[in-house]
Symmetry: C2
Subunit: 199 residues, 2 copies
Amino acid sequence: MTAGARGGYAKGRAKRTEILDQAMALFGEAGYRGASLRVIATRCGISHPGLLHHFPTKEALLLAVLQRRDDVDDEWLALGVTRGIDHLRRLVDLAELNAKRRGIVELFSVVAAEATSPDHPAHAYFEARYRTSVANTERAYAQAREAGELRDGVEPAAAAQQFIALMDGLQIQWLFSDCTTDMAGVLRGYVQAQLTVRF
Amino acid sequence: MTAGARGGYAKGRAKRTEILDQAMALFGEAGYRGASLRVIATRCGISHPGLLHHFPTKEALLLAVLQRRDDVDDEWLALGVTRGIDHLRRLVDLAELNAKRRGIVELFSVVAAEATSPDHPAHAYFEARYRTSVANTERAYAQAREAGELRDGVEPAAAAQQFIALMDGLQIQWLFSDCTTDMAGVLRGYVQAQLTVRF
DNA sequence: CCTACCGATCGGTAGG
DNA sequence: CCTACCGATCGGTAGG
């Protein structure tokens, strides 16, 4: 033990964070089913029962990983604050940020597809996530409509659904293209074509 | 053996087709990694070494499943024949048809996401598939441009990439929405907004 | 946090 | 096409 090794709680919290980081990476690389607790544990320098001391089951670990990512992103999006096209801009900026974090893109693309199966542990999680993502985006489009910033014929509900679908589809292409696809650029162009103002 | 049980080759071919059907369904439900040869074999009424008599490895089975689907779809799309917005219409019709075949949508959504991992057996397959899908769609948009059917500002390359991304993203939402998302309707609306003529 | 173990399941092969 | 088996690996638990 080195000097300043007091505070077992802090150390436990650090290990917990390390586990979440490594689990995110492996769930992204191999999917939930393809990832093993032993590999995650080894990458953290502990045994797999050691990992299960921090998270009781593999399922609990997955949900903790997903929840942590959403908490960080939701805070960054400032959901309660930004409105209208400001919110759309935030979503595009998030795509730009994600282009520097392949692990996160992999995690959500791969596990979301896996979770379309009704008996997948994250099925309910993603079902709710899509509902709120589309609903929040629809609200942003509706506010843009009120502000007169939306072109005629652009319908908020359809536009929101398209926007979320576009984000997901671009992530898959981005992963296959060795991260050369310009996700944020494509999204920006898509939204700009719907607006009467400069985006 | 019942009467007319002659023709062992025909029987073998029928069993092979049955295996491909059941494999497609299970790969879609559970992904490649999550599916097991034993479960597929049981659903076909044979043992798993029996299955391996028809397909030497699990990987060969997956590639055979994917290839068969693409062959059927490519023929249906009549790639060499349709041009311009006729080709786009075919793609939308394919989405409409797929809305009646959940297994196929699951297969491509789930396995494509899995295959973003570079060491996945279908990685090269999907990489090539995306390249040609986007290229074919870009060609269709370019032909529409030549025919004067495309609005100003619509760029074939970007539009093609968006169209394919939209298809993929909608399939995920469709699977989570219990097949209530109107994939073809959304795609039709998207394309119509890019055209100067009735789609 | 560890070692040691449980029962289950995996893809693939041997031998017929 | 079958039974029977291989070595490997899985999530989770016992007991400390």
